[in-house]
Each structure stands twice: as structure tokens, then as C-alpha cells.
Amino acid sequence: MRKSRTLDLGTGSFVLLGFAALFFLTTQTTSRGISLASPPHYDLTAKFDNIGDLKVGAPVSMSGVEMGRITKIAFDSKEYKAVVTMRIDARYNQIPTDSDAAIYTQGLLGGKFIGLTAGGAETYLKDKDQIDFTQSAFVLENLIGQVLANFTKSAGGQSDSGKSKADAPAVAEPKPTEKTK
């Protein structure tokens, strides 16, 4: 009787462990996970025109030092903007109110992250505050589209001036092509 009890215990814990592993695989590696208790922090939000493929959990850094993570991405249907909520470590509580947030890419093919650049204000951002100055994600297709549009436009105007001339207006005046769309 006692032997069969220990045996059952072994079988039971093995099966439990197996199902726990299956549960982990289906929930933790695929969808949003349940985050564990976090250290003291405060939340900031920022509105972006375009966040590219920024994901929840991506780091928020200033001068390359990680200060927090993105906890939520929502959509503001009035302004048609993405609202990104980030959780900043309570240690970094001296971020000026006029700081700006931009979306950068880690490496060439890496994921996106938010980089903060400090402003000059004397007052600091508090919990639930919003960062007003934002810069959208760099979307490669848009840039290629702009360069191409400018290239064909200038190639039509002048006969065959070199590449350097065709490139210059693409960087200098991206606005007009945006309006023609």
C-alpha cells in the first residue's frame, strides 16, 4: 500500500509537471504573459502617429540606459494615434517634462524600442503624465516611396543628372511628396 502511494505520487507529480510545461508553452511563449510582481515604478504615456512594430515588453531607454518597459499599447480613436504606456523604474524620477520620446530600431533587423531625450525643464514627469514631444517609428517603405517619388520627379525635370543630385531633394523636401499622396 505504501509503495503504491509513493508510486502514485511520482506519477502524479510527473503528469502535473508535464501539463504545467504544456501550459507554459501555450500561454507564456505565445500570447501576453502574466507579469510577476514588479519593483517600484511609475507610468508615463506618449502618443505616436506610427509605432511600426513596437511591442509590449520592449525597453524604454535614455542615453542607452534602460529605464523601463512598455506595458501597454492602445489606440486613440479620436486623434488616430497610438497610445503607448510605459512603466519607468522609480529610481529614474527626474525626467524633465519637455523630454521627447522617439521610436528606434535595435540593430538592422532588431525590434523597436523607445528612446527618451531629456529636455531642459526644471519640473519632472510624474505618474500618469504624458510625453508631448514624440517622433514616430521609421518606416522603411515610406522612406523608399519618398525617395522614389522625388527621384522620378527630378529625373523628369532634368535629363540625366547624377544620382547625387536626385538624392538631395529627397532629403531636403520630403513634405511636397507627402501631400501629393
Partner: protein, 255 residues
Amino acid sequence: MKLIQELLESLAEALVGLGAVMRFLLRLVAASPRALLRVDLISQQIYNAGALSLVIIMLSGLFVGMVLGLQGFQLLQRFGSEEALGTAATIGLVKELGPVVTALLFAGRAGTALASELGLMRATDQLSAMEMMAVDPIRRVVVPRFLGGVIAMPLLAAIFSVIGIYGAQLVGVQIMGVDSGSFWSQMRGAVSLSDVNEGIVKSSIFGVTCSLIAVYQGYYAVPTAEGVGRATTRTVVTSAVFILFLDYLITAAFL
């Protein structure tokens, strides 16, 4: 001429073998519903096949994951996308390495134990003795072992994958310095439920294959010491070949 004849004969022999295994599988399946009533027997076999294989599975999973972390980091670094390490390691483990390596280890650890146990029962006439007592050895001895293996394999593969992911995380994040948030968030963004599904389907099929080969080899072992030894060897060799062959088929089917 003689060569062709020999070739044809060995081919026919292989076909006969395959047919016999399939017939044996049908017998096992037919006997399963009634054998399922004896939960105690099956639970003991899950313990033998699963719980006793846990240590080797977990250790191997850890090291496979750590190697994936190192190799994946080295490779991804060339493209400047180390953050994709979590995705690469998880997809590799869940879809491929988890089920396959677990099945190979399972064939070596549990399959051989099954084959030699049954072979020895055959050699010492225990199976015939059961038949004399009007106890169906298939239902009493073989099916619980088969079902135990079938149930244990997907669970072992899942444990292997989870430990492997943490192994990759250990090397990638703790040692190589990949950002922990990116590691997990990119993984969650890129790994879909169908990837996990593929792993589960694979390991279930491998479970049936490995257990079937092991009990078949053991049950029909030549009742001598040499025969039991040969049955054990054949279990490992046949299982390994079939696992890798089926792995290709299932992967192709899921594309």
C-alpha cells in the same frame, strides 16, 4: 539474377515486418478501451516511462537550450538582431528539437527498458504462463506499457522545451547580455499557437511510434538471452530511424 531475387526477398521481408507491426498496433488499440479500466497499471507505466526519464530529459533539455543560446547568439549577432534569440530558440525547441531529442532519449531510456522487460518475460515463459491462466498478456502487460509511453512522451517533450527555453535564456540573457524584455516579447510576438501545436502532434506521434516498436520487439523477442539483447538493440535503431523519417513527413505536412 540471384542478387535481384535476394533483394526482392529482403524487401518482401521488410513489408511482412511492417504489416505485422501494424497488425500488432491494431490489436493494442482494440485492447486499449478495456485496459484503460485498469488505471493503476497504466499509472505505474507512466511512472516507469515518464517520471524515471525525467532527469535525463531535463538535463539534456538544459544543455540543448544552452547550446542553442550560444549558437543562435553567434549567428544572429552577424545580422545585428540578437533580440530574435528568444524567437529562434523557442521555435527550434518547440517544433523540432524538443519532440525529436526527447523521442530519441525516450527510445534509449524507456524503449530499451520496455523491450528487455517484455523480452525477458517471453524468455522466462511468463507470458505463456499468463495465457495458461486465461489472462490476456496483451491486455494485462503490453497495453499498459504502450499507453504509458504514449501518454508520457508529449509531457516529456513539453518539459524538455520549457527547460530548453530557460537554458537559452540563461546563456543569451544572463551571459551574452541580450535584453531580457526583448527576448521574451519578440518570442511572444513571433511564436504562434500552431507552432506549439506542431510540437504536441509530433511528440504524440513519436510516443506511439517509440512505444509500439519497443513493445513489439520485446513481445516477439527470440526467447533467449541473445534474442532479448537483439530486441533491445533493434528497438533503439528502428525507433531512431522512424523518428527522424516521421519528423520529416510531419514537418512537411505542417508547412
